[in-house]
Every structure is written in structure tokens, then in C-alpha cells.
Symmetry: C2
Subunit: 242 residues, 2 copies
């Protein structure tokens, strides 16, 4: 099963301090770009793969989705999500994305924010999501960018001329990357961007949009620390059509 790092006390504590945990979608700088890939939500049956605190599930309902299924591997996340809403059209369930089973042809939108880089069997997951979606629907997701994930030493380097650079190595070597982020030993699965897109295509999806998120001038004015995200691609946003 997926490493359930979210139920590690250190990780859960640290995660709760992040802007995106405290302020929800408004605390995630990539949210406007991700939202732009979403269809009109009215009357859609939505599944959120890796729902965390449930911020997106609630947003989907506020935007008139008919039902929302929020899935997460972490019981702590699900408890928090359940305690944040009593909307009977939102259902939170525990699920392991490594062995997901969904009812066939029963969703109009699959969404996932920053969860797929933990998944080993992404081909299996995409096949199951494809099966669960109706024709004409979309899978919209964000994932850590492979360039962000690949390096042996994922940290900025200042070059001889004072420039901040991101030191790529090991890009072609796919497989686990272990980092210490909020807790020790967080395992992510590095794949090239090509592999990721080809897995989607191989599952039957049509690539509709690929965005290597970067901050806008307004993002940087509001949060100057985001400026460094102009130097590298950190997050990848994808819309794929079923």
C-alpha cells in the first residue's frame, strides 16, 4: 500500500502548518491555474483522489457539484475533513490509490491535488480512473514536477555569479526518491514527464492541457518567496479527457 506518511504525527503536525492546509485553496498558489482547467461544476459527480482536509470537496459543492466522493489513505485527514462539513452530498472514504476500486462510469470529474507522486502503480490507477469516468469527462490533477523530484540533492545552489540554480541529476533514473519533508523518509515516485503523459495516453486519455506552474507577478508581489519558482518547474498541472 501507499506509504501513509500523513498519519505520521510529525508529518501531520507539519502539514497542518502549511498555507494550503490553513487557508485551503486560497493558500495554494497554483489553485487559480488548476481551477482554470476544471469544467463548470454544476451537477457533476466528482471524485477527489487524495482529498486531505476536504477543501476541494467543499469547493466543488459550493459550486453546485451534485455529489463529491473524497478519498484519502489517511484516517487523520478524513476525520478532519468530516469534521469540517455536514453536507450529506459529500462522502469521505478511506482508500489506497495503489489499489483503488471505483464503480464503473459513475463520475463526471476526477480531481487530484499533489497526491499522484506518491503512487507506484500509476498505470493501474489511471486505468481505474478511466473506467470510473463517463465519456467526455475530465481528469484534472497536479503533481510534483519530475524536475523538482529527480535530484539526488533537491535544494537550491548559488552559482559563481550569485544566481540561484536547481541542480538536476538522475532525471532518467525513474523510481523512488526519499526526502525529509515535514517528516523523515517520505517516499515519492519519480517518473519522467514523458512517462507520466504516456501512461495517461496508454490508459485512453487525451491530453488536453499541460502546465508547468509558475508564479504570476501578483503571486510574487503577495509572497516574494515564490519568486524562486520562476527558475524551475516545481508543479505540473494536467487536464486529460476521457
Amino acid at each position: 500500500m501507499t506509504q501513509n506518511i500523513y498519519d505520521d504525527p510529525d508529518f501531520f503536525e507539519g502539514y497542518g502548518q502549511l498555507g494550503r492546509s490553513r487557508f485551503g485553496l486560497a493558500g495554494a498558489p497554483e489553485w487559480p491555474a488548476l481551477r482554470a482547467l476544471l469544467p463548470e461544476m454544476r451537477d457533476l459527480r466528482v471524485v477527489d483522489l487524495g482529498c486531505g482536509y476536504g477543501w476541494f470537496c467543499r469547493w466543488a459543492r459550493e459550486n453546485n457539484a451534485s455529489t463529491v466522493l473524497g478519498l484519502d489513505v489517511s484516517e487523520k485527514m478524513l476525520e478532519r475533513a468530516r469534521s469540517s462539513s455536514e453536507d450529506p452530498a459529500i462522502c469521505y472514504e478511506r482508500a489506497d490509490l495503489e489499489r483503488l476500486v471505483l464503480p464503473e462510469g459513475s463520475f463526471d470529474l476526477a480531481y487530484s491535488s499533489l497526491a499522484f507522486h506518491y503512487v507506484q502503480d500509476l498505470a493501474g490507477l489511471f486505468a481505474e480512473v478511466y473506467r470510473a469516468l463517463v465519456p467526455g469527462s475530465r481528469l484534472v490533477f497536479s503533481i510534483e514536477h519530475p524536475i523538482y523530484m529527480a535530484p539526488t540533492n533537491p535544494g537550491w545552489v548559488i552559482d559563481g555569479e550569485g544566481r540561484k540554480t536547481w541542480p538536476i541529476d538522475g532525471y532518467q533514473m525513474e523510481g523512488p526518491r526519499v526526502t525529509d519533508w515535514l517528516a523523515k523518509g517520505v517516499i515519492k515516485q519519480h517518473r519522467t514527464l514523458g512517462t507520466l503523459l504516456n501512461l495517461l495516453i496508454g490508459s485512453g486519455f487525451r491530453i488536453a492541457h499541460v502546465e508547468e506552474w509558475g508564479p504570476t507577478d501578483e503571486d510574487i508581489a503577495a509572497m516574494p518567496a515564490l519568486g524562486e519558482e520562476r527558475e524551475r518547474p516545481m508543479m505540473l498541472l494536467v487536464a486529460a479527457e476521457r
Copy 2:
């Protein structure tokens, strides 16, 4: 018009020394991966955008393409290509990819090797190629990878632990990159990978395969210097369907 660096004497001389110039397709390590994206060539009407010495044009005819149009901005390249074959089914013509005009619906395959990163108006070029292809046909091309092209200082850096790393910066800043490669002041056009794919999608193409080329074990055994291409994505190979 496109900077015609190929007619610069230094560039032309240096280019002629490259393995891919001297040994043709066999001298290009990415060729087997690019060839795997090509359809069966028999009876196809082929256009090669940036044909150089015409190696691919001749290969296409050897594989029973019915006609091949080789286009290049460099007269020197075209002279060399013309002198290498008297096949009347191959036609070499001078063309600027910035303002390409092709007959509508008259090709079954568009091919390009390492030329598109010189093109400023890639949206215009893709639209014209789409118009020139028949439904069900393919555009297959290689291009320098944006991660290879983006950096201010595109050169390997040895980190504190002796690892070779590729220092990314400026990735989100699209636009010209000036490098000294074979000649001084070679201008390439950096776009993010997302932008490149979205331009194809926006022109009506369906993304069929995206490959960030890396060397195989056999490639490295034959040419150990290729080993460093495991560390970064250097070339991007794309197959798109009309």
C-alpha cells in the same frame, strides 16, 4: 526570418564534423527512439522540416515513401543534400519555417529533427503543418529539451559530493537564448514543455507520445560520453496525430 546560422562558415564547418552529419541517422543516438514513433513509410508523402544534409529524406525513400520534400533555410545544406542523391522522388527546396506555406492536405507525414527550437512563431508553423497533413497522419519531431535550453549558464556543474548536475534557472522565462555552439551567437527559442504541447493541442493535434530521450546501456557502452545524458533531459521527441 529564422536566423540562418547554418550558412555561417564556422557553423557549417563545425556542423560537418558532428557524428550526425558524418554518419547520418546512425550517428544520432536518439534516432532509434525517433524512428519508433514513425509510421510504416511505404507510399507516404513526406515533408522534412529542416532537412539538413537530407539523411532522413533518403532513408524515407529507402523505406518506400512515395515522395519526399526536404525543406531547409540553408542553401549550403540544400546543395549538400542535392549532391547526395539523384532520386527524382526527393525534392529539396529552400524554406523559412517562420513563414512556411505548404499545399493543403498533401502530406501523410511531417518530420523534423532538431529544428523547431530555432522557430519563433511555432504556433504559426504548427497551424500550417496541420493544414498540410491529411486526417489520420502524424507529425513526428525532435527538439532540444526546454530543460537543456533554459539555463543562463548551460554547462555541467560538479557538486560538493562530486556529482555532475545540470543547473536550471530561468525555466519560466520564455524567449530567446543565445549560446555559442559551433559559432557565436546562435539564437534558440526557449518555451516550457507545457507551452510546446499546448501549442500542438491548440493547433488541433492529438498528443500520441512524448519522450525525453535518454541513452540505453548499449548507447553508453558504445559511447561512454553519453552517460551524462542520464542526468538531464536533453532532447524531446514528440509524436502528434492530425
